[in-house]
């Protein structure tokens, strides 16, 4: 049985993107969920499937069900870091196709900026890494960046291009947290945190909640927005701790991407918007390579000259990304929200023209979990 097009995203919502003092993670998650349900033209009591992950809830689907007063038939609280929500797209699609639920809510919320301004994590210590005091996640990504530079000649200016492009997109997005000019020189001159990554190579620390609602396509026809179909979705994971990553320059996105493309019957050439989880500048380069947009080792050259900035050869992270739009700790939900906004043609000044296929790629842990989904309009179905 093919799952291609077996579900569609009918509603999206967000809350507290950026700074949301005085509101807790569950409040932001619930506000987002209610906004997504309303956007879908559904009622709260229509939701019978809950898919959720946060950095603060051990049993997130139970917490969401209790808070909203729902009694879900189907729930999936799988937590594979920031990529959880792309994985939830797959499990929600399977659940809808199998009749295990009729309206699936995927949701997330975090107040990590207001709560302390630091990355919050329930992650247990990796006992064979912790004595050396890695400052994960950044240490892991710095190790990968350094190895990529060593093997392929990637340089800091190319890493900086990723941050500069993200800021240029953010400047077109009124909802983005970081606005204003950012140059390659600014990035290079920023405070070094973990060689070769400066503070400007690192994602934001913000608050924010996000949610989406999926239904089967037959139901979507009666709802207010044109459906955004899940054409393909796949997950892959090869390690937990970065010391066990087989090759720091090749991520499991090579597998999740290939499987998602195969399910969708598409290739990278069909993708006109790539939403790539940019927790650090090296991520975007790695995922452009591993998802087929360029060859291995060519990602640095690929992004040069504004190639992924507005007006470039490929639209990447048009909301401004985790680097300049929003990053409350687990960013994956916001990739989906931007892709849907773009596929609906509602992205305003940053709208990608003639868009029918968007790729969303979530990353979790220390390059550990990789989840890819392909979303499309009716024209792509």
């Amino acid at each position: 049985m093919s799952l291609r097009g077996a579900s569609s995203i009918a509603g999206i919502g967000s809350a507290g993107i950026g700074n949301a003092p005085g509101r807790n993670a569950m409040e932001l998650m619930a506000e987002s969920a209610l906004a997504a349900i309303a956007d879908a033209g559904l009622q709260l009591y229509d939701i019978d499937g809950i898919f959720a992950a946060t950095s603060t809830h051990a049993f997130p689907t139970l917490s969401v069900a209790e808070y909203l007063g729902l009694r879900p038939r189907m729930q999936d609280g799988s937590n594979i870091g920031g990529s959880s929500f792309e994985a939830h797209l797959l499990s929600a699609t399977m659940a809808l196709a199998a009749g295990q639920c009729d309206a699936a809510l995927i949701c997330y919320g975090s107040n990590q900026r207001s709560a302390g301004g630091r990355l919050v994590s329930m992650s247990e210590k990796q006992v064979h890494e912790a004595p050396y005091r890695p400052r994960h996640p950044i240490t892991a990504y710095a190790l990968a960046a350094g190895r990529h530079m060593y093997q392929y000649g990637t340089n800091r200016e190319q890493l900086a291009e990723v941050a500069v492009a993200a800021r240029a997109w953010a400047n077109l997005n009124p909802d983005a947290f970081a606005h204003g000019p950012l140059s390659i020189a600014d990035v290079l001159g920023s405070r070094m945190i973990s060689d070769p990554l400066t503070v400007a190579d690192c994602c934001l620390v913000t608050d924010g909640g996000g949610a989406c609602v999926l239904v089967r396509p037959d139901r979507a026809r009666d709802l207010p927005h044109p459906p955004v179909y899940v054409l393909g979705a796949a997950t892959a994971g090869w390690h937990r701790a970065v010391m066990c990553m087989p090759d720091l320059t090749i991520t499991a996105a090579t597998e999740s991407g290939a499987r998602a493309y195969a399910m969708a019957g598409l290739t990278h050439r069909d993708v006109k918007l790539a939403m790539l989880y940019d927790a650090f500048t090296i991520n975007t380069i790695l995922f452009l390579e591993d998802l087929g947009f360029c060859g291995k080792g060519e990602g640095g050259a690929f992004v040069q000259g504004g190639a992924i900035a507005p007006g470039g050869r490929l639209a990447v992270n048009t909301n401004g990304g985790g680097l300049s739009c929003v990053h409350p700790g687990m960013y994956g939900m916001f990739l989906i929200l931007e892709a849907v906004t773009q596929l609906r043609g509602q992205a305003g000044a940053r709208q990608v023209p003639d868009l029918n296929v968007a790729l969303v790629h979530g990353n979790g842990g220390t390059l550990s979990s990789q989840c890819t989904a392909l979303l499309g309009t009716r024209a792509a179905l």
């Binding site: 004595p131 400052r135 240490t139 190895r147 945190i193 701790a241 010391m243």
Partner: protein, 118 residues
């Protein structure tokens, strides 16, 4: 029966840096496990690590308290481990290093130093 993690630490306490090897396949394993990852052989025995290694990746964490490196070291036997290279701020990828056991926070810890400076 003691598990491999506790056995590894007991060897370190006794001043021995030991890793595992499959008797049938010769595959080296680190960190310590109950079976060879991916293939599942249970015939793991303890063998002394030769102590030689190569820097696979390295970064310098810069904090208010100072700068220190964190490295991934490829042991000559094959497995990779996280550690640090002592005596230098950083070292190029590919640098030859040698293990030693130090005491830190009341526990033994494997760190590396430059082979050329041994």
């Amino acid at each position: 029966m003691t598990g491999p993690e506790a056995e590894y630490r007991a060897h370190l306490e006794a001043g021995r840096f030991m890793i595992q090897r499959s008797r049938s396949t010769g595959t080296y394993v680190f960190y310590p496990r109950v079976a060879v990852p991916g293939t599942g052989e249970r015939d793991l025995e303890w063998v002394p690590a030769g102590g030689g290694g190569t820097v696979y990746a390295i970064t310098v964490n810069r904090t208010r308290e100072g700068a220190y490196n964190v490295a991934l070291i490829d042991l000559d036997e094959g497995p990779r481990m996280m550690s640090r290279v002592e005596g230098v701020e950083t070292a190029p990828i590919g640098t030859r290093v040698r293990a030693r056991i130090v005491q830190e926070d009341g526990a033994p810890l494997v760190v590396f130093h430059l082979e050329s400076g041994a």
